[in-house]
Amino acid sequence: MVITLIRTVVLYGVLIFAVRLMGKRQVGEMEPAEFVVTMLVANLAAAPMQENTLPLVTGLVPICTVLGLELILAVLSLKSIPVRRLLCGSPLLLIRDGKVDQRALKMSRVSMDELLQKLREKDVFDLKAIRHAVLETDGELSVLRRAEYGPPSARAMGVQVQQAELCYAVISDGKVQKKELARAGFDELWLQRELKALGLSQKDVFLFAADPRGGSLVIKKEG
């Protein structure tokens, strides 16, 4: 059993490294090839984890091979449009100018029921509200509503609004995040002044989020 434990730790480390190298996408956003690779790598690790008579290399060699191939193909599909089309396919316009493209539906093997379901999942219950709908390569449906059916934007109403800024977590769980602080455009002196004004010390803070305009959100630690 100790062998199983050690192998599990080793293979877990290798899997984490492999997934980290493969990039930052969630399961629902992966291209088909990426999804296959993720499932494959997990299954490849399982056999030597459970079966001690199999050498560890029977898991490591396929994982390294699949990882290498995935990285090469990912870069090639980034650099070459034909390779990208081959591996990922192309997005398909299912609704064009309000009209359902039945040929595109047939090509993508999506039934009308499925299309309506995907639209409902996007909070669209009336086909008349849609101008265009695109079936993306990862299976998601992107929808462009008709202007008259969407919420008015500030620009359409001629209203001047302030641009939103990114918020940076400058203190997280009592620890100062120096890189985030620098990205927000402040230094530790500013941070100490803000904390003093709030009557708090760094250790009391669970989260201190600041934006470049000086706006902040502070959550104190509980307990």
Binding site: N52, P55, V57, C64, T65, G68, L71
Partner: protein, 122 residues
């Protein structure tokens, strides 16, 4: 492009290590086979004591390398070969040549399974 080179390096390194391991074990298995064949020849020539000595030496060689073989071959297969050596070393009767043949076949078969031939790939 950095990821491309990492991927390429991972592929090339893995392939190189696999080929190296496979060739190394094939060479060692061949050497063991040659010694077992020599033992069989000695036995058939009536020099049973010499045959036994060759087998004992070969078994020691095998034991010294068994861990390396275990790293790349199925552990059950390595155990079977160890048992076959033991059986051969303890053999007293006329089954010695047959046991030698069986052991050589097992060693050769296992070593050949790791080589990149089309029939192994398929």
């Amino acid at each position: 492009m950095r990821h491309f080179y990492i991927g390429l390096a991972a592929l090339v390194l893995t392939a190189a290590l696999c080929l190296l391991g496979s060739e190394s074990l094939h060479g060692r298995a061949e050497q063991l086979c040659d010694n077992v064949c020599l033992a069989k020849s000695e036995w058939e020539a009536g020099r049973t004591q010499a045959a036994k000595e060759v087998i004992c030496r070969t078994e020691s060689d095998w034991q010294a390398q068994a861990r390396l073989f275990s790293a790349l071959w199925n552990h059950e297969a390595v155990l079977q070969i160890s048992l076959a050596f033991r059986e051969l070393a303890n053999s007293k009767g006329q089954d010695f040549p047959a046991l030698c043949d069986r052991l050589m076949l097992e060693l050769t078969r296992r070593a050949e399974l790791e080589r990149p031939y089309w029939h192994n790939i398929l």
